[in-house]
């Protein structure tokens, strides 16, 4: 990296020895970004900010939380009543988890719609799926910490998923619990891991950003940038846009924290854990509902667990399932229809996950689960072959398709340039 001249002599002195300022200038200031990004590209930075909010409030909460079955519930109530601003910090952390998932889900669907997972961004996408997995593990273990009824029974049900593994399943579950049921050792280790994993996420986010900055952001047209006429420096154009998006996000976030802080929680979790009685209707947090629906859709213990993890696994291999060289759904008329069907399918799965597993819900859940896998495993590979894409624009700075000569040439050449 070229060492840059800085006006401030102290900055210059440091940068000559430790090029941190050059690095920041290069990656956060002049960093060339496609000039046609829409508001869906705000959600990456929003997710990063949500992560920071969760870590900062989480550290504050850990200062007053006691990871012991006899004290955990009471220590959370003490945070709510006695610790200065404890109610605010806990509600930010509680709702922050939900908002983090909202932001990340939008971020993922953005990637699906605009083909951001395609070459050369496969690893970027896979690191993102890994972050999602880590988030799910972290959120699950965090939900156990207040040691309410939902905490306890959620922990029991989710850890029991591993008992479906043939031969060693029971041993693994005992190992996870550190005993013969979810108990104090389980709570202790979940607290340790809940504190650890966010920092692992930070590490993977750094890799995610390194991979992102290798080729830069994808864009709504899904074509590569071809030079300075197609890009803007990240600062101030996208910093200000990200800040505007952040202020809108924080407005919704604050509204939830201050007016409906328990909307996305479950009242049963304000009942202390009781190992002798399961709540009548046990559901996971809303962000797990689609996966929960897939788990319940399969009438076989091991099969359900495999299907649930398979729902994430197909995302890992998505870059190789969708072989179409066209990234953006704007130029893929059939893909666009199926994208929205998948989106609706995920909403249906979420709804079914919240409903009791009986009657028509079971049937709908099974159909929606089948559709989820059909979409990734059959429709996407077939579409790559049978779909006729719309002509691509020549470049970002010439977004309008020019039917005369050059435009067509541009459309034809666009897929090729992705090989690079």
């Amino acid at each position: 990296m070229e060492s840059k001249e800085f006006k401030n002599p102290v900055v210059s002195w440091i940068d000559h020895r430790l090029p941190i300022f050059s690095f920041l200038d290069h990656e956060a200031n002049e960093y060339p970004t496609p000039k046609n990004l829409n508001y869906f590209w705000n959600f990456g930075s929003l997710a990063g900010i949500a992560l920071v909010i969760m870590i900062v409030t989480g550290i504050a909460l850990a200062m007053s939380y006691t990871a012991h079955t006899d004290y955990a519930f009471d220590s959370v109530e003490r945070i709510m009543r006695d610790v200065n601003h404890g109610w605010l910090i806990r509600y930010i952390h509680m709702n922050g988890a939900s908002f983090f998932f909202i932001v990340v889900f939008i971020h993922i669907f953005r990637g699906l719609y605009y083909g951001s997972y395609k070459a050369p961004r496969e690893l970027l996408w896979m690191l993102g799926v890994l972050i999602l997995l880590l988030m799910m593990a972290t959120a699950f273990m965090g939900y156990v910490l207040p040691w309410g009824q939902m905490s306890f029974w959620g922990a029991t049900v989710i850890t029991n998923l591993f008992s479906a593994i043939p031969l060693v399943g029971e041993n693994i579950v005992t190992w996870l619990w550190g005993g013969f049921s979810v108990d104090n050792p389980t709570l202790n280790r979940f607290f340790a891991l809940h504190y650890l994993l966010p920092f692992v996420i930070v590490g993977v986010v750094v890799l995610h950003l390194v991979a992102l900055h290798r080729f830069g952001s994808n864009n709504p047209l899904g074509i590569d940038t071809r030079g300075p006429q197609d890009t803007l420096p990240f600062h101030p154009y996208y910093t200000i846009k990200d800040f505007f998006g952040l202020s809108v996000f924080l407005t919704f976030f604050a509204a939830a924290v201050f007016f409906v802080p328990n909307m996305m929680g479950h009242p049963d979790n304000y009942i202390p854990a009781n190992a002798l009685q399961t709540p009548a209707h046990i559901v996971p947090e809303w962000y797990f509902l689609p996966f929960y629906a897939i788990l319940r859709a399969v009438p076989d213990k091991l099969g359900g667990v495999l299907a649930m993890f398979g729902a994430i696994a197909v995302l890992f291999v998505l870059p190789w399932l969708d072989r179409s060289p066209i990234r953006s759904a704007r130029f893929r008329p059939m893909f666009k229809i199926f994208f929205w069907l998948l989106f609706i399918d995920c909403l249906v799965l979420g709804y079914i996950g919240a409903m009791p597993a009986e009657g028509v819900y079971v049937l709908i859940g099974r159909l929606a689960t089948i559709w989820y896998f059909v979409h990734f495993l059959i429709i996407l590979p077939v579409l790559s072959v049978v779909e006729t894409p719309r002509p691509l624009p020549q470049s970002i700075s010439k977004p309008i398709f020019n039917a005369v000569g050059g435009g067509l040439a541009g459309a034809m050449s666009a897929p090729k340039e992705k090989v690079e």
């Binding site: 409030t57 007053s64 009543r81 006695d82 610790v83 200065n84 601003h85 404890g86 910090i89």
Partner: protein, 184 residues
């Protein structure tokens, strides 16, 4: 052309000052917002309501025999209450106050001469001095002796010898009746 250029220039300068105002106002609002978020995170480390609720205790001192001391826990720290003998009171008053490291008369330290109430925290580095139990070292001035770095306190809890900079602290307390005091 020239006219339009000058007009453009005027607009630009006008726009610049407006923009400066917007930028400064935005930064200011951002700083207020960041501060408003930071304060709860900082303040949560201050004592919580239940901690503050335990910040005062009431003690019945009638059971302390003359010459005996008791140790209580108040705000997480030891409090020494010594029912002093006439000899100890005499010693505590029979001192050249101006010659002390931390000049303070005994009457300024004990509301009732018979009962001395001090924090059992050495003012050097916070150890608990010896001298409460019978048989413990009381130091050269028949008060308390801190084993950590050798500070000697007299029968009024004043520093007489050793590294400690000041006298044992007298906590805020009041006699609710002849037999009961409230500390804190």
């Amino acid at each position: 052309m020239a006219k339009s250029k000058s007009k453009k220039g005027e607009l630009a300068s006008e726009g610049k000052s407006r923009r400066d105002f917007i930028v400064v106002a935005s930064y200011a609002m951002g700083a207020v917002g960041a501060g408003a978020f930071a304060w709860p995170l900082i303040d949560q480390m201050n004592p919580a309501a239940d901690t503050l609720a335990l910040a005062s205790i009431e003690v019945d001192i009638s059971k302390i025999a003359e010459g005996q001391s008791i140790t209580l826990k108040w705000r997480g720290k030891p409090v020494f209450i010594r029912h002093r003998t006439a000899e100890e009171i005499r010693q505590a008053n029979d001192v050249d106050i101006d010659g002390l490291r931390d000049p303070e008369g005994d009457d300024a330290r004990a509301q009732k001469a018979e009962y001395l109430v001090v924090l059992g925290v050495c003012t050097h580095l916070g150890c608990v001095p010896l001298g409460q139990k019978i048989g413990e070292v009381r130091g050269e001035y028949d008060g308390w002796f801190c084993p950590c770095h050798g500070s000697h306190y007299d029968a009024s809890g004043r520093i007489r010898k050793g590294p400690a900079p000041s006298n044992l602290e007298v906590p805020p307390y009041a006699f609710l009746s002849d037999n009961v005091i409230r500390i804190g």
